[in-house]
Subunit: 224 residues, 2 copies
């Protein structure tokens, strides 16, 4: 049986990847990372999704390294979360330096100790502009490092790297992903704000897929 460790943030992309890999017959373990993100609610979402599907889940507590990240608005409460589109210049403040490499490195350790065959993460094409660690060339370099970091070979897979978030949303709807249980908003309040870059992108993805997001929002979405 194909076994994989999946990095599960609790957002819609990694949740969809979880359903996709299970449908493909993978034996899964899911790892979430607590890096001190403001939207800690996503970790609750990740845990709940794994409980629903009976998948082993661990959360790696990395909040202690938060001071190394500097001024990211996702981890530093003194920096505001910007509103608008991912493409906007002000959105760069949501970058957490090297977050994906850290997550991949920690998840790979678990993959090695459990002798899994694969390590999966849900990088997708929509993230490339703002997040350098979602680009295909980064994934390729990490795949090479992960394949040789131990005598036990581990294959990195990122099946959604060529897809837009809208396309991922369509796949998730087909697979029956309970999107009302996923969490996307960077602000992490009681309701999703509907205005931050992450909410905006999610709402546009549902618009692309021709469906209504089942998650309640603070404000009604008005397509631009």
């Amino acid at each position: 049986m194909k076994s994989a460790v999946l990095i599960l943030s609790g957002g819609m992309d990694s949740a969809t990847l979880m359903y996709h890999l299970l449908a493909e017959g993978y034996d899964l373990r899911c790892l979430s990372i607590d890096y001190g993100q403001r939207h800690i609610r996503e970790l609750v979402a990740a845990k709940e999704l794994c409980e629903i599907l009976g998948v082993e889940h661990k959360t790696a507590p990395l909040i202690g390294i938060n001071p190394l990240f500097g001024e990211s608005s996702l981890t530093n409460r003194e920096v505001d979360v910007p509103e608008g589109h991912y493409e906007d210049e002000n959105m760069k403040v949501t970058v957490v330096p090297n977050r994906n490499m850290i997550m991949l490195a920690v998840a790979a350790a678990w993959g090695i100790s459990t002798k899994s065959g694969f390590l999966a993460y849900a990088a997708h094409a929509g993230d490339h502009t703002i997040y350098p660690d979602c680009r295909p060339e980064f994934i390729e370099a990490m795949a090479k490092a992960i394949a040789i970091c131990d005598f036990h070979g581990l294959e990195l897979i990122a099946p959604f790297q060529g897809l837009s978030k809208g396309e991922i949303c369509s796949i998730g709807l087909e697979l029956g992903v309970p999107f009302e249980k996923t969490w996307t908003c960077y602000k992490g309040g009681d309701l999703a704000c509907g205005k931050c870059g992450s909410c905006t992108e999610r709402l546009e993805a549902f618009e692309f897929a021709g469906a209504k997001d089942p998650l309640p929002y603070e404000v009604d979405y008005v397509p631009t």
Copy 2:
């Protein structure tokens, strides 16, 4: 001025690299990693070395991810630390899965947020047999990933990757590294044990360099 983040374990290799980089004119920040290692004493050594030299030092607390590592004798107190040479088959139990990638990923985050130019670590040729994540091909793949993981480019350097531990010892002696303040023994007792793979390698390095290790040992070293 050239600025670098150096991964400083507190052992003799990274201590020598610290002195080497300072001699080369680098502005340094040193990062140590608490991954739940049995030989936690090395972190005390790292801190003390930085205090002596007036170098900024942080310790990243990663002990929480310890359960992901499985059966390594360096982190799991129920697994004995083996005695003998690194080349011995039983020494594989001292491998901490993907330790170097995790350390590099976390240190790179600090390098990015402080806009450092370089990330340095003290991988050396003697480690290749047992630690896959010290091999040149691993360093090369990581260098590529680290260069593109952020819009701020960071260059990975491992100046000792072609040297033996004996050669590093010779360099350290020339540079005046206070080796009595470094810590190597995997067992982490009051005195270095002189028998584990790490002690054995250190003592052989001093023998190569034609010097006496200033560190006190539980047993007298008898060269083989």
